[in-house]
Amino acid sequence: MQQTNIKNAYEHNHYPDERGHFGDYGGKFVPENLMAVLAELEAAYKDAQQDPAFQEELKRELSSYVGRPTTLHYVPRFSERVGKNVKIYLKREDLAHTGAHKINNALGQGMLAKRMGKKRIIAETGAGQHGVATATICAKLGLDCIIYMGEVDIQRQSLNVFRMKLLGAEVRSVNSGTKTLKDAINEAIRDWVTNVETTFYMFGTAAGPAPYPRIVRDFQAVIGIEARQQIMQQEGRLPDSIYACIGGGSNAIGIFYPFADAPEVKLIGVEAGGSSMEEGQHASTLVAGRPGVLHGAMSYLLQSDDGQILDTHSISAGLDYPGVGPEHSYMKDTGRATYVSANDATALKGLEVLSRTEGIIPALESAHAIGYVLEQGEQGNIPEGSLIVINLSGRGDKDMMTVAKAFNVQL
């Protein structure tokens, strides 16, 4: 072991600790009424992890139902736009069933819920992708499904709302606060506090109280595990850098985590820069926030001087969140990962260029990572010969209304 200050170095496979902490971050900051059920969930998860039958079934379903492994796909024409002799691969989570990485976690948690004998599933959703994934898995496993979604998000993601309903879910509109993802989480937690005995909360991102950041990371880590094998097969070496968009941070931690022990691989999370970096106009939590407690965990937060949670803005509903998963906060502080910001215009440009050069329309969320790499390339910041992986966390079909509006096209 090298001489490192252990306290300030990210050690692979060490987190969270038994109290659900990642360094100073994470933990369980929830009403006491949830403590017993979180302990129950923790025990059930540990048990499932050690049960070969559960792991076998998960593997089988990921293959035949979700369509894994998703490909690690070389994009030569896009690479050329980024820089000379730059090679970019996309981890194609957009090809997973339901069109985004969210299904990996929903499947795992759904199987866990069934194992725990919980029939009533609640979940929050922003862009609707986690809502759709949850509704999908509930339909498949025969579970009741209630999705909380902010009124603003319901309007900008009407297609996904319809998909959820078609899959048999009840979609509950949330009118409190900013009427977006954070308020949907508040309302889902209130439901859980009330119906704690019967209900399983299928949390969609690698945030929230312990053990969720760990459970979601573990179920999403399949992305990075596959990508690592695939890049070794296809290139015979690890990539120089990995980029992923980050709202709550589930797709990012999913691809980062299995590479975290390889210090030569740079991990870069791209947050939503919104319309500007002025307060309330973006969702760049790690870039512009400071530590605090929201939704059950200590992590970076966008908050006022008085500790009130700030409004956020992003063109992509899935990144429109003032918090972030605690492991990302710890990766930031330890320097293991770097976090940057890409604004709405950069994301739109990324979406357009990838569509035209490669015939792949990315989700607006993923387009933040695409657009950021493109912009860095154009500014000459990507060294010649770089080998890059970008996590293409979802496909863009759901965003066509928003994109058309942004391009002033009447549909």
């Binding site: 929830v30 017993a36 119906n195 939704h295 008085d306």
Partner: protein, 285 residues
């Protein structure tokens, strides 16, 4: 804890003087009645009226008053207190503003004050600064609904050092061992009580008391026997009849959302007077 010669008194063996909360319960006990604990959101319906309302409640016979601190994301609260908090924030209420209200109230009244609110604004204000200011402004204890014992050490240590009780909430889903832990922690501090959460759910008025409430209180009583802590019941209590029933088997009763609604009804018509009369009606059994 390394050496005894350092002279440092660790929190475990530090002895606190009997706190004002304990005295309040003892006084009510000697008068053979329950402790009435109303909750008011600081800044609702506006900043100026809060002080008058709190003072009126004290005059009406409230023993302990919870001063609610608004938070943008109150996940343990139902619609009524959510709304009150939102109004308070729109009025410009801050943690400092809540501190100022405590100061103004304690300058004019000897009523026992608690501050209740979510952890993030307190953390943001600074734990040390928060406890020092609260204590200096006449506050006796804190209730933080999103701070379970597992995460409470940093605040508890500072709060106790400043003579503030940290009140733990115990809901029906809490196993006995967690109740015991809360009781032990409370007993090591400057007095306090166990806040019994009457139901599984968020704050807000309910028409009926939960069916098994008395059994639940009996379970907490058994688990906290060693510490002999007073028990106060909150969440869902909305009528004088509820208060009377609850104080027949617990030492105190908290009433929150029902008061917010009362203030709402009298917003433009002397809310303080309405609150005073309501509290008086609770005291006349």
């Amino acid at each position: 804890m390394e050496t005894i010669s350092s002279g440092v008194i660790t929190p475990e063996n530090q002895q606190y003087p009997v706190g004002k909360i304990t005295q309040t319960f003892e006084r009510a006990h000697s008068e053979q009645r329950g402790v009435i604990i109303p909750y008011f959101m600081c800044g609702y319906p506006n900043i100026k009226d809060t002080v008058d309302i709190v003072l009126a409640a004290a005059e009406g016979g409230a023993d302990i008053i919870e001063l609610g601190m608004p938070f943008s994301d109150p996940l343990a609260d139902g619609a009524t207190i959510q709304h009150a908090g939102q109004v308070a924030l729109e009025q410009g209420m801050t943690i400092q503003g809540c501190m100022d209200i405590a100061k103004q109230v304690s300058a004019k009244s000897d009523v026992t004050l608690l501050m209740m609110g979510y952890y993030n604004p307190i953390l943001s204000y600074g734990l040390e600064r928060f406890c020092a200011t609260a204590s200096a402004n006449g506050v006796s204890g804190l209730i933080i609904p999103d701070l379970p014992v597992e995460e409470a050490d940093p605040l508890q240590e500072i709060a106790y050092r400043h003579g503030l009780a940290l009140i733990y909430l115990v809901p029906p889903t809490a196993p006995d061992e967690r109740i015991v832990t809360a009781a032990k922690r409370t007993a090591t501090g400057p007095g306090g009580f166990i806040y019994c959460v009457a139901l599984s759910g968020v704050t807000g008025s309910r028409l009926e008391l939960p069916a098994h409430l008395q059994d639940f209180i009996a379970r907490i009583r058994a688990a906290t026997q060693e510490q002999k802590l007073p028990l106060a019941v909150g969440f869902g209590l909305s009528t004088p009849a509820h208060i009377a029933t609850v104080t027949s088997y617990a030492e105190g009763a908290v009433i929150g959302s029902a008061l917010v609604k009362l203030i709402d009804q009298h917003k433009d018509d002397q809310p303080a007077e309405a609150v005073k009369m309501y509290i008086q009606s609770l005291r006349q059994k």
